[in-house]
Amino acid sequence: MNNRVWVRIAVAAALVCLPVRAPGAVCDLPDYVTQVDGALSRVPLAVEKEHKLRVLVVGTGSSALGQEGAMSAYPARLEAALAAALPKVAIAVSTDIKMRRTAVEMAAIMGKIAANGKPDLVVWQTGTVDAIRGIDPDVFRDALEAGIRAARAAGADVILVNMQYSPRTETMIAVQAYADAMHSVAQQQDVPLFDRLAAMKHWSESGIFDLAAPNRSRVAEKVHDCLGRALAELIVQSGKLDRTPSKDRP
């Protein structure tokens, strides 16, 4: 045998010996994103007693992927990931998404849409529009509290989702004050916060996704798939839900 064949064998052997990455491994997040405080009380009841879980995603443009992207946006991916993690539970994820809504605008309708849809859990994505418009952070904070109260009054748990990490507009949209407000309201109200900003920053900085590029190789869809999985993980973890072992897990 010549050298080239040996090289091929060595490469093949190396590939076989590499640790097998689970399907979701690219989405893996550090502990500081996944370790989240905050309690869910309605979700475990619905899952364990009623074997169903209705989730309502309330948000703005970053909860959708344009007009035709609904199937690959994170709410749909969340539904798929929850169904995989909780196969015996009837999962239904619905959305109330409109572009350019501030937290104040969403808080004003929160009670009504939560009463209409009767969700067990409201996933509330907000922050970006407020940051773009430069809404007073105190006004933003009050709106968060009002929205959480309204959703809870309608019988739903709440998870907050903060803004996206957007490297190209980082010097132009001052998100930090709004991210801080969301952290502190989440802590005070004992609401889990999905730190989408930190998650996407981690994927960007570790080179997993190039977020500054145009949407080559469908990065946007892959990011939303990971966001949906991470959010499902957060729901299972915060609700202390009994995960039915699925086939693809060792």
Partner: protein, 388 residues
């Protein structure tokens, strides 16, 4: 009796203002690994406090001499002319910023960022937005320091007059304004909603305190500052702030933060110059003054010269720093955002700042406005080394 004005410029001021300008530049580049060296990560206060304090100190030093030699009116006009220069510089940066936003908004081509593409939303009403920008009510990200400086300068002529006549009264007045601001929520309105990010009614305290130190206050404080106890208290406070700051970045430590303590100290309000920030700055400044004497020979060493020369040309270097931070971010996003590139743009930015500052300083010297300890030929004509 007007308080005596120190005759020789304190190079420590230029050194630390230069360093503060570098840190502000580094902090303004988002996602930059080099910004881990900046002081905001190791305590409550950041480079802004240093910049505002030293600006107040040098303004009192330079315009105080003018007020002594030429009278209130000439000094006041000189201060207001400076405020106008800062205003024009701010508007120039605003135009550069608009150009960058317009470019990025037009080239964001990713369904992921459908929302962020609305960043140009405010340009849909250019009549309102541009007018609000001229009124300093509309201020883009990271462009809040110069408007603060403008307001502080506009209010400075009477403040300087009082600081020179009755320094204790001036400081008490400044403190009263600060406390009233906290009690009554005073601030200037911003556009479209909200308030100024740096509340001038609160931040004036640092500026006036700087001016007070420059007009004899530092000497009056000296007996107190020699106390070993005070040194221990300052060091303990800095250590406390450092430990708290660890919990912000290292989640491992976050669990050691007692809930009652976080409820007590958070939020640490930058807008209104939180008293924790002010005390942190005082402790830092105190430590520096104790460790570095005014006649420390190192101040003349070529190693520190790059920071000193930047501190002496502070307005130009500050504006350049804001511009370079935009440019660095642009390069990081459009070319490469890897760590070597982050280090490269950070270092290149500082080199450019030093280069421009040294050309300006050199020009100032050959143009006849001699820098250094020599007294100016015409009364009040020289700026005693640097600028206000």
């Amino acid at each position: 009796m007007p308080a005596p004005v120190a005759s020789e410029r304190d190079l420590r001021l230029d050194l630390f203002r230069g360093l503060a300008l570098w840190l502000i530049f580094l902090d303004h580049i988002p996602s930059n690994v080099v910004s881990w060296v900046t002081i905001r990560n190791y305590g409550f206060s950041d480079a802004t406090e240093i910049f505002v304090f030293i600006s107040g100190y040098t303004a009192a030093f330079v315009y105080g001499r003018a007020m002594q030699d030429r009278g209130f009116l000439i000094a006041a006009i000189r201060i207001l002319r400076r405020a106008w220069q800062v205003y024009v510089a701010h508007m120039f940066l605003f135009i550069i910023f608009m150009a960058e936003i317009a470019y990025v908004g037009a080239t964001l081509r990713n369904p992921l960022y459908a929302e962020e593409m609305n960043i140009l939303e405010f340009l849909q009403q250019p009549d309102v937005t541009l007018l609000q920008a001229l009124l300093l009510k509309f201020k883009p990200v990271n462009m809040d320091v110069l408007p603060l400086y403008i307001i502080l300068l506009i209010g400075f002529p009477p403040a300087l007059w009082l600081v020179r006549r009755a320094p204790q009264l001036a400081l008490a007045g400044s403190l009263t304004l600060y406390l009233l601001t906290w009690a009554l929520n005073w601030n200037l309105p911003a556009y479209p909603t909200g308030h100024w990010y740096f509340n001038p009614f609160a931040w004036q305290l640092l500026f006036v305190f700087g001016a007070w130190c420059a007009t004899g206050g530092a000497e009056r404080l000296w007996p107190v500052m020699r106390s070993k106890w005070l040194l221990a208290v300052a060091a303990a406070y800095l250590l406390f702030a450092f430990l708290v700051s660890l919990t912000w970045y290292l989640p491992v430590f976050a669990r050691f933060m007692p809930r009652w303590l976080s409820e007590l100290i958070y939020p640490i309000d930058k807008t209104n110059l939180d008293v924790l920030r002010f005390m942190h700055f005082l402790a830092l400044a105190f430590l520096v003054v104790r460790v570095l004497p005014r006649d420390w020979p190192g101040l003349n060493s070529p190693l520190l010269w790059p920071a000193i020369v930047c501190g002496q040309q502070s307005l130009a270097v500050f504006c350049l720093g804001v511009f370079l931070a935009f440019t660095s971010h642009f390069i990081l996003v459009e070319v490469s955002d890897r760590i070597p590139m982050q280090i490269l743009v950070s270092a290149a930015g500082i080199v450019i700042m030093v280069g421009v500052a040294s050309v300006l300083q050199w020009y100032k010297v050959v143009d006849g406005r001699r820098a250094g300890p020599k007294p100016p030929k015409k009364p009040g004509a020289g700026l005693a080394g640097g600028e206000a």
